[in-house]
């Protein structure tokens, strides 16, 4: 046996439910983009995209059931990305 513990198996039903939620969020984001929201449509679309990616990472990629190490590393990677983009804009916005 190659695993120390029984792996957590996500059932087909749960995966399908996540997929349906993703499709609904896709429909929502397309609909929101057709509304006249001005610059808020950028943040709204990114927020919906963040929720969709959260679902993909948590369930399709199993992160919901992984240990602390992987979850912390993901958090660190996202913080690095935020610094990467955010700090660049500290410069760009004031040129």
């Amino acid at each position: 046996m190659t695993h120390e513990h029984a792996p957590h198996i996500i059932g087909y039903g749960k995966l399908t439910a996540v997929w349906l939620a993703l499709l609904a969020l896709t429909a929502l984001t397309v609909w929101v983009s057709r509304l006249d929201l001005g610059v808020n449509r950028v943040w709204g679309s990114l927020a919906i995209a963040a929720v969709k990616s959260g679902l993909v990472i948590a369930f399709f990629m199993h992160m919901r059931y992984e240990g602390r190490l992987l979850r912390w590393l993901l958090f660190v990677a996202l913080v690095i990305l935020a610094i990467f983009i955010g700090f660049t804009f500290f410069d760009l916005l004031y040129r």
Binding site: T2, L15, T26, V42, I57, L73, A77, F84
Partner: protein, 200 residues
């Protein structure tokens, strides 16, 4: 004395995740470029955005989300040692990848036919912000498409190994890691879609 190869399921999965983080930073760089140039050339980006085809973008989003579902189901199937079903699900994922690439081919053919490609005479004569937008578009979506091809090939190799029995319910980290790579492809598109097709 029999030799049993060293296996490290947790290590293999950790290694894959670390690689995926580097991919996040890679595409993060491209999204940063998008953000920087969008703030610099908002009107030109809006003009470029009007040339995009929402139907293709939406269809491709749905196709990739479905392919991700099938890949995740393949992991469940192999964990339950249902090898026939695993291969069917992997086949479905690869089929979605092929349809995605076909859509991409049709979409890009239309755009290139309209004179929209890096350094075309139409773009060279237009404002520089539009050229930047389309260069970023081709670079980002092209790099993503390359990842679709790599991921599809990887999943095909995995399917062959499932058939041969090298991957099974007690040893499947290669399938799981390949599925993780595939989900990353889906994740990147989840952000490409609003940025290039929706918000402009």
């Amino acid at each position: 004395m029999s030799f049993s190869p060293h296996k490290d399921y947790a290590g293999a999965k950790l290694g894959m995740w670390l690689f995926l983080f580097t991919e996040l930073i890679l595409f993060g760089g491209l999204f940063l470029l998008y953000a920087a140039y969008l703030s610099r050339y908002p009107h030109e980006f809006a003009a470029g955005g009007r040339e995009m085809h929402l139907v293709f973008g939406t269809a491709n989003t749905v196709i990739l989300l479905t392919s991700s579902l099938l890949a995740a189901m393949a992991v469940t199937a192999i964990q339950r040692d249902a090898r026939g079903r695993t291969m069917l699900l992997l086949g479905g994922t690869i089929l979605c990848a092929a349809v995605f690439m076909l859509n991409k081919y049709v979409e890009w053919s239309a755009e290139i036919g309209n004179g929209i490609y890096p350094n075309s005479s139409r773009l060279a004569a237009g404002p520089v912000g539009e050229s930047i937008f389309f260069s970023l578009y081709y670079l980002t979506v092209g790099l993503h498409g390359l990842h679709v091809l790599i991921g599809g090939t990887l999943l095909a190799v995995v399917a062959v190994r499932v058939k041969s029995g090298a991957i099974h319910g007690g040893e499947y980290v290669l399938l799981e890691n390949s599925a993780l790579y595939w989900h990353l492809v889906d994740l990147i598109w989840i952000f490409i879609f609003p940025l290039y097709y929706l918000i402009l």
